[in-house]
């Protein structure tokens, strides 16, 4: 395999494996948030802020993977 091919494979693996964890995390977050919302619809305001925050932190890890993939591909 050429160096260029290895680089492409590495970038694909970096973002592919790197988004596994955050994907699971966001799924759990959303399911729990929906559950909480179903039980207590009045809590929407407080829930929404914390929900978006949790989403951001879970997503940040996928973003790190994306950064690594971009660095492998372009730098």
């Amino acid at each position: 395999m050429t160096d260029e091919g290895l680089k492409l494979l590495a970038a694909a693996l970096a973002i592919g494996l790197g988004s596994l964890g955050p994907g699971l995390g966001i799924g759990m977050l959303v399911s729990k948030a929906m559950e909480a919302l179903g039980r207590n619809p009045e809590a929407q305001g407080a829930l929404f802020t914390n929900f978006i925050l949790g989403l951001a932190f879970a997503e940040a890890i996928a973003i790190y993977a994306l950064v690594v993939a971009l660095i492998i591909k372009f730098v």
Binding site: T49, A56, Y64, L66
Partner: protein, 328 residues
């Protein structure tokens, strides 16, 4: 009635297939770096900078239009009323997160970050962005046909443009081959823009922390109180925790800027790849997805800035007792 629905569905599918076969979109060209549009002296003005100015101009125009006829009780359908709904929403958010004492201090930064990111994300989805610009001639890219438009010599990309890898035989004689350097490109697809917003936000956050807690704020990062008292073990732990706090402060900068950049840049790449694959009808779904991402990322950035600011002005001891009344 049923027959008509089936016919419409078939028509749409036929349109997708025929469109893909005979009029495919241009092959995606991904450039991580923002392309320069103009060179003023030694300074290269990038297309994302131009787009950032454009979104600032749009925000200014909208707010000028709304505040030109400002009244204490705006009428139901006025621009002022529409904007006040947005601003009121954010003031409530600040009140909920930071408490009434700090809400009005944080509000301008939070709402400015939101409006700028929101407007530039949405403007970046307009036609004209990423499609009009100079052609940088090169070895590979698309085949452009030249059009003479008065004094301007314009290259346009034919709908069923050909893709060329290297200068080989099937490139037509005299045609321009190259990649597009667009004049406008969604402002947040350049790391420079997002890093600038993150730097401004973090500078404000540190400033507010210093002003609220005085030198006690720096004690969070360099904590030598217990070390000076002779408690070596715990003192070293405090020093290490301080170091971790410094690192996490820097990581905030990285994750804030890269989150926005990554989302919007990946969105652009997704759109250009999907334009190539399903240039007809189905692309609308992805545009809708990008509309969602645009507003959520703007909200996330503003909200994170607000929460970091709230944490920064909260002293170590009083956390959870008084400063965040409605959060818990």
């Amino acid at each position: 009635m049923r027959n008509r629905a089936v016919l419409i569905a078939l028509g749409i599918i036929a349109l997708i297939v025929v469109g893909r076969l005979f009029f495919p979109g241009p092959a995606p060209h991904v450039s991580l770096k923002a392309e320069p549009v103009l060179h003023l002296g030694g300074l290269a003005i990038e297309n994302t900078t131009v787009a950032a100015w454009a979104s600032i101009a749009v925000i200014l125009l909208v707010f000028w239009r709304a505040s030109r006829t400002a009244s204490l009780i705006p009428s139901g359908r006025s621009w002022q009323n529409a904007l006040e709904i947005v601003l009121d929403m954010f003031l409530n958010l600040c009140n909920n997160v930071a408490g009434p004492r700090n809400a009005r201090r944080f509000f301008p930064l939070v709402v400015t970050i939101f409006l700028f990111i929101f407007v530039s994300n949405y403007l970046g989805l307009l036609p004209g962005y990423h499609t009009i610009g100079w052609v940088e001639e090169g070895e590979h890219g698309s085949v452009w046909s030249e059009v003479h438009l008065g004094p301007l010599n314009v290259a346009i990309l034919p709908f069923n443009a050909q893709q060329v890898e290297g200068l080989d035989a099937h490139a037509p004689e005299g045609a321009t081959i190259g990649t597009l350097a667009p004049w406008l490109r969604s402002a947040n697809t350049s790391l420079n823009t997002t890093l600038a917003i993150a730097l401004v936000a973090m500078a404000f956050i540190e400033f507010w922390g210093l002003r609220a807690l005085g030198f006690g704020y720096l004690g969070k990062f360099i904590n030598v109180r217990r070390l000076l008292r002779g408690d070596i073990m715990n003192g070293l732990i405090d020093l290490f925790v301080g170091l971790l706090d410094i690192i996490s402060e820097l990581a905030r900068l990285i994750s804030l800027s890269f989150r926005l950049f990554g989302n919007i840049f990946a969105g652009e790449v997704l759109l250009s790849v999907m334009t190539y694959l399903v240039s007809w009808v189905l692309i609308v779904l992805f545009l809708g997805l990008e509309l969602l991402v645009g507003v959520i990322q703007a909200l996330v950035f503003a909200l994170l800035a607000l929460v970091f600011a709230t944490v920064a002005v909260t002293a170590h001891g009083e956390e959870g007792h008084e400063a965040q009344p409605t959060h818990h």
